[in-house]
Amino acid sequence: MALKFEKTGEGTYMLDVCGYVCPHPQIYTKKSLEKMAEGEIVEVYIDNPSSVETVEQMCNQAGHEILEKRTEGGKIIIKIEKG
């Protein structure tokens, strides 16, 4: 388990919070989005289902768009565009 936040391209980032439980995944996601510019995209890797629901609602309230949500071998990947 290690927190990873990497730049994967121009305006795109990857945040890996697998292994973390509440409240870490949602707080790290929030902090990442706060630092990013409008229109930039982050792919968040989470393996804590209840954090996913909080992240979804947080994005909905803050005006960020969830572009994609998929599951890969126990990990949930949420692609968010900062609004």
Binding site: F5, C22, Q26, I27, K30, K31, K35, D47, E53
Partner: protein, 492 residues
């Protein structure tokens, strides 16, 4: 010819089916095991059916807690840290429904609820508990359901709650005890016929010399309410409406105003160019229904908690007892019970005291005297684990959450690593230390009390909210530092 992609999809489908089969097996294994245990208890002695009631209500609570992600720590943390109100809303909805059920039970004389002494101690304990639950990542009930999901950090939190409480109540620290508590304690135990050897640790003096001096309020029993509202209506108006529903609705309005309104009205004005009262009401209702699952589970938990009280009141009536300790004594297990023949048997949803008993049971096996004190020796006893009714409720909650998470394919063993080990243990110990002085946790000292008409529950709630706020501030500082390190490599 199959492509690599189609082979991968087939392999993934095969894996998913294998997981589903494995999960189904474990669900049937757990439920079958509990049915077998229940039958064995009933076969050994009909009195044990009392204990079986706790098992199955525990299972129901666990399933609902997991399905609704119901956790007081999530409620405050998501609200303060992420601005997400879904859990806080769900808890208030549950409180409203449970208060109505409680009022009905009071009105029909089927309630096992009893209010607790009122005082600032509730808020102080709530602060410690609030910090602990944020650190551990779950409140007392949330920790149990997360253990059922295979969460290792929550297992450490549970360890901390069990042993934090057990050690807290036997720690001497007598130099800190005010002389007035000592004098008052000696008078009280003499009047109650308790031998002086039970007065040893600071917590004994706290219970008998401080808590016993505090007034007890039950809204429906206040003279003003009794004189104004006749008959059963005083329970619905005093306990449910005044003590639970009005404050809960006010809190929902505050949550809407501070966390939801701005974003919602902005969207409305962008679309229509203006907003009115109708939009505000739609926004408020939208907040209530934003997470249907949590809100629905809130309603079900409220109703189930009421049903639990009703069933246990019926069991007590059937066996003509007021406490399970009397049945244990009848069955020849006098060593399980406290000085006056009672054990911890709340008669409703409760979490922490039975976990303290578990901690005490283990410490006693290690040779520590856990019985010469007020908490265990006089009030709650230390039953063998398999004869402890409330402990079975906690086990039921863990297993219920496990069943639900297996059904939802969310069960996963997650070993605690790195800083989560420290947070889990420290948070658990703080929750233990924050629940004993208040005679309960987020369930026993807040949820049950507020719904039952005891205003002291709100004193504990205020403390929990302050503690959670402090905990979230700490987390913000800690995560900010970690993120800054991650972002060093590039400009953001």
């Amino acid at each position: 010819m199959e492509t690599t992609e189609s082979v991968d999809i087939k392999a993934a489908e095969k894996d998913a089916k294998a997981i589903e089969r494995r999960n189904t097996f474990w669900v049937f294994f757990i439920l079958g095991g509990l049915i077998l245990i229940s039958l064995i208890y009933a076969g050994v002695n009909i009195y044990y059916t009392y204990l079986v009631v706790y098992i199955w209500f525990g299972l129901a609570y666990g399933m609902m807690l997991q399905a609704g992600r119901f956790c007081m720590a999530s409620a405050s943390r998501d609200l303060f840290a992420a601005g997400v109100p879904r859990m806080a809303v769900g808890i208030m909805v549950a409180l409203i429904f449970f208060s109505l059920v409680q009022a009905f039970l009071h009105a029909t004389d089927m309630s096992t609820f009893h209010p607790a002494p009122f005082g600032i101690y509730l808020t102080l304990a709530g602060i410690v508990f609030g910090i602990g639950m944020v650190l551990a990542g779950g409140c007392a009930s949330g920790t149990l359901y997360k253990v059922g999901e295979g969460n290792g950090t929550s297992m450490l939190g549970l360890f901390g709650i069990c042993f934090g409480q057990a050690l807290f109540v036997i720690t001497p620290m007598n130099a800190l005890v005010p002389q007035a508590w000592v004098q008052r304690s000696q008078e009280v135990i003499a009047a109650q016929g308790i031998p002086s050897e039970y007065l040893r640790a600071w917590f004994d003096y706290y219970l008998k010399g401080y808590i016993s001096t505090k007034p007890i309020y039950h809204i429906a029993e206040l003279d003003f309410i009794k004189n104004t509202f006749s008959g059963a209506s005083r329970f619905f108006i005093g306990d449910a409406l005044l003590n639970a529903i009005v404050p809960a609705v006010l809190l929902l309005v505050v949550i809407y105003a501070f966390y939801v309104r701005k974003g919602f009205i902005k969207k409305v004005r962008k679309k229509k160019g203006k907003s009115g009262l109708g939009d505000e009401l739609r926004g408020f209702w939208g907040m209530i229904t934003a997470s249907k699952r949590t809100t629905l589970m809130g309603v079900l938990i409220g109703i189930t908690a009421g049903l639990h009280i009703w069933v246990l009141a019926g069991m007590r009536h059937k066996f003509a007892v007021e406490n399970f300790g009397q049945l244990l004594t009848k069955m020849g297990h006098a060593h399980d019970v406290a000085l006056f023949g009672t054990v911890f048997d709340p008669g409703y949803w409760y979490i922490t005291s039975q976990e303290a008993q578990f901690g005490a049971w283990v410490l006693e096996k290690l040779g520590i005297d856990m019985r010469h004190n007020i908490f265990f020796g006089v009030n709650n006893g230390i039953p063998e684990l398999w004869r402890n009714p409330a402990l079975w409720m906690s086990i039921g909650i863990i297993l219920g959450a496990m069943v639900m998470s297996l059904i939802n394919k969310e069960f996963k063993w997650k070993a605690p690593k790195g800083e989560l080990i420290v947070f889990g243990l420290l948070g658990g110990f703080l929750m233990g230390m924050g629940s004993r002085p208040s005679l309960g946790c987020n369930v026993g000292a807040f949820f049950i009390r507020v719904a039952g008409g005891d205003p002291g529950g709100w004193m504990y709630f205020i403390g929990m909210a302050i503690g959670a706020f402090v905990g979230v501030k700490f987390f913000n500082w800690y995560t900010e530092r970690k993120m800054a390190k991650q972002m060093e490599a590039f400009d953001l």
